[in-house]
């Protein structure tokens, strides 16, 4: 039966997270934006409080009878992120356990791997200096030597690469075999040959570290491969193998979209508060074409925000109900990413000097939101994925 309101448990989750966000994150927002790369130790307490609900976007899949609707871990995760990133996107990303590597382990790890690494702080290493959105083109290599994999290569843009305990690293077993030979590996920090070489200075999310990590004959146990070590030889198998790796994104895109929902809500709330002080209020009384320009824009942003939020919830709901959601995950990421950027920037503009000033957080919300339309697949990559699905095109036809 059609209902697009949150279940009671998720409404409660949201309220609790919003309390934490307001009282335990906001007070530190500006501090760690200024002190880039400083570890936000106060967030350990927040991480502890939100406990198991804090990350694990893959969610736990309870056994339920066929045909029963589930509002589970995926929905809980995005709802939590609405609140946490209303608090502060940078601080959330710099919080222990927020790593996207956790999503990968949760999605494709064996029970043993989940037990061993599931609760660690796992960062994701995909991007390389010469490879971004075309992740099938990575050059980092993994070679089996006895009971160990030997990794060599350089990874960049690793969110929380310095603070994490473990890394999920994409590497190829044989670059000449293309996509099918790309596998992901769990590397524990401190393993000889694995070294953080640099931290980026960024536009936003400064509370979160973004690291470059090099692997020089880094040896890890044979069992630390995520998924099968076999390289498919036929076309179908090759496609399936890489599809498995890419599936992680179906789990991580809705959460990133949820972050955009959170930060843009924060901007809207503050913007509306500042405008209200000047007598400009959002009302739903008059027909939109009869509103003043500023009222109409507030209204338009509110509509866009609500629409993007529903797309995120739909993608998470599909994941909870084991419905393939690759297209919907990209749809919500594309919509929430651009809506998040648009709203946060317009809120700066509407509040004029107050928006631009560091006295308030509007300018920071705008800077923080930009990355959400870039990482886990840029706006354009999401459009590409949606377009291929809608138009039933292969990646060879629609490049």
């Amino acid at each position: 039966m059609i209902n697009l309101e949150l279940a009671k448990k998720h409404r409660e989750t949201f309220e609790q997270v919003m309390m934490l966000a307001e009282h335990m994150m906001r007070p530190y927002s500006r501090k760690y934006d200024k002190e880039e790369h400083t570890y936000p130790k106060e967030m350990e307490e927040v991480a502890k409080l939100i406990g198991s609900a804090r990350s694990n976007p893959g969610g736990t899949r309870e056994a339920v009878p066929e045909g029963t609707v589930v509002n589970g871990g995926n929905m809980g995760s995005v709802v939590g992120l609405f609140g946490l990133c209303w608090g502060d996107t940078g601080l959330f990303l710099g919080m222990p356990g927020s790593g996207l590597g956790n999503a990968a382990i949760s999605a494709v790890g064996t029970p043993e791997q989940k037990k061993k690494f599931g609760s660690s702080y796992a960062a994701m290493c995909i991007t390389e200096p010469g490879t971004g959105s075309d992740s099938a083109n990575i050059s980092t290599t993994a070679v089996l030597d006895g009971d160990e994999w030997v990794l060599n290569g350089e990874k960049i843009f690793v969110t929380d690469g310095e603070r994490s305990d473990t890394l999920v690293v994409w590497a190829t077993l044989d670059k000449s075999l293309g996509k099918a030979a790309i596998k992901s590996f769990i590397v524990e920090k401190g393993t000889p040959g694995c070294e953080v070489t640099r931290l980026e200075h960024k536009l936003g999310i400064r509370a979160s570290d973004t690291a470059s990590i090099s692997f020089n004959d880094c040896r890890i146990p044979k069992d630390n491969i995520l998924g099968s070590a076999e390289v498919a030889t036929d076309a179908e198998g090759r496609k399936k193998a890489f599809g498995g790796v890419m599936q992680t994104f179906d789990n991580t895109r809705p959460p990133v979209a949820a972050m955009a929902i959170g930060v843009s809500r924060a901007a809207l709330d503050l913007c509306q508060e500042l405008l209200q002080a000047e007598g400009v209020a959002l009302t739903y009384d008059k027909k939109p074409c009869n509103l003043s320009a500023i009222e109409a824009e507030l209204c338009q942003m509110e509509a866009e925000w609500n629409a993007a939020r529903l797309l995120v919830l739909k993608a998470a709901w599909m994941a909870d109900n084991k419905t393939p959601n690759s297209m919907e995950a990209s749809m919500c990421k594309a919509k929430a990413g651009r809506v998040g950027n648009h709203i946060t920037l317009r809120c700066v503009a509407l509040c004029q000097s107050l928006g631009y000033s560091e006295t308030y957080l509007l300018e920071k919300f705008a800077r923080d939101s930009k990355i959400l339309d870039i990482f886990e697949g840029t706006q354009q990559i999401q459009q590409l994925i949606v377009a291929r699905r809608v138009l039933e095109k292969s990646s060879a036809d629609l490049k």
């Binding site: 609707v69 749809m331 138009l391 039933e392």
Partner: protein, 371 residues
């Protein structure tokens, strides 16, 4: 939400009944409506001849209580929105005409008095199409649905109605018209106008689109109405009426935009330029992707507000935002539909220019298509 509300889960699953109903609506839309749309738009076919054929859908029969001759299915804003969406996939303009009697019935069920229901509802259970409609819009710039200028004044025997209503679907033929007016300069009320009383003038409109909906301007010059013409026994809830209508208008937008997307897809996949389908180019493919994304969002916004209405929750804000969102993106999708077909999209050989003209109305329409 109140504490007594059952803990509903977020759910996008249709009920079995909704699924079956959709199938028959979609079948009718594809087989009957789509074929007529172009003919009616070009003046070659008659919408007046078409509407009686919609009687087989039983649109007005469903929500009327069994005691009054109906099927006694609980009136469901969600199910109604789905029906509107599916019929509009065939053609928005004919769908609007076809559902206008249903919108009248819905409003009577929602806000009518017991006596009015007993008097009028059986007329919609005969198995034949009965033209009826609702009238709120007025012909002036800056019109606002919350502030109509049409007036009703109390007299010894009833009311005197004066004013002009515009863009009234089935306005020429409707035997029953629900007219919204300001009562004695105070609150708004709704009045059931039967037939064509003295002082009522119906004028066919000539508009940019929606030609099949038989939009008309209705003028009321001191029209005398009996005391029982006033809808309901208490105050008329104009906001609620406007909001339920907005949901219907949004659903029409969703159905029409789905038609645009469904039409554009094969076109861009088949149309070759520079040696390959134009959809192999990102500039084209990304427009299609955005159409699909915004359309899905339009649908979810509409469903959300409709579900709130169905649950008896406050749905004003969500209905308002759904209309804002649908109006904006429906027009964008309509425009892109023409653009993607290039010069061919501009020509009437393809339906996209008609959809563009029809979708322009989403933003403007108020007070019709109540779910």
């Amino acid at each position: 939400m109140t504490d007594t509300t059952p803990d509903l889960l977020f759910d996008l699953t249709l009920t079995d009944e909704q699924r079956m109903n959709r199938e028959s609506m979609q079948r009718f839309a594809a087989a009957e409506i789509r074929a007529q749309a172009k003919l009616v738009d070009e003046g070659a076919g008659s919408a007046r001849d078409f509407y009686p054929r919609t009687a087989e859908l039983g649109l007005t029969l469903l929500p009327i209580p069994e005691a009054l001759g109906g099927a006694g299915v609980d009136r469901s804003p969600v199910s109604n929105a789905l029906i509107f969406e599916d019929l509009a996939h065939g053609d928005m303009s004919l769908a609007l005409g076809a559902i206008s009697p249903m919108a009248f019935v819905n409003t009577l069920l929602d806000q009518g008095s017991e006596a009015q229901r007993e008097k009028y509802l059986p007329l919609f259970c005969t198995g034949e199409f009965k033209a009826a409609t609702t009238a709120l819009l007025e012909p002036r710039a800056t019109f606002d649905p919350g502030a109509p200028a049409t007036t009703a004044t109390r007299t010894d025997s009833g009311y005197t109605l004066s004013g002009t209503k515009a863009m009234v679907p089935l306005g020429l033929d409707a035997e029953l018209v629900l007219v919204i007016a300001r009562l004695d300069g105070g609150e708004c009320a709704a009045f059931i106008v039967e037939g064509s009383p003295a002082g009522m003038t119906r004028t066919a409109e000539s508009n940019m689109g929606l030609l099949g909906a038989q939009l008309a301007t209705l003028q009321f010059d001191d029209v005398q109405l009996p005391a029982d013409a006033r809808l309901g026994s208490g105050a008329f809830d104009l906001q609620r009426f406007v909001d339920l209508a907005r949901l219907g208008i949004c659903a029409l937008a969703v159905g029409t935009c789905q038609a645009v997307l469904d039409y554009v897809k094969p076109y861009v996949n088949e149309r070759v330029a520079f040696g390959e389908p134009i959809s192999n180019r990102q500039s084209v493919a990304f427009m299609v992707a955005d159409m699909a994304i915004e359309l899905e969002a339009m649908r979810l916004m509409t469903w959300r507000a409709a579900a709130l209405a169905e649950q008896g929750e406050d749905f004003h804000q969500q209905a308002y935002l759904a209309k804002v969102f649908c109006a904006e993106h429906a027009m964008k999708i309509g425009t892109d539909g023409v653009q993607l077909l290039g010069g061919h999209g501009f020509c009437r050989e393809h339906p996209v220019e008609m959809w563009y003209r029809n979708l322009r109305a989403i933003d403007i329409l108020e007070g019709i298509a109540s779910v």
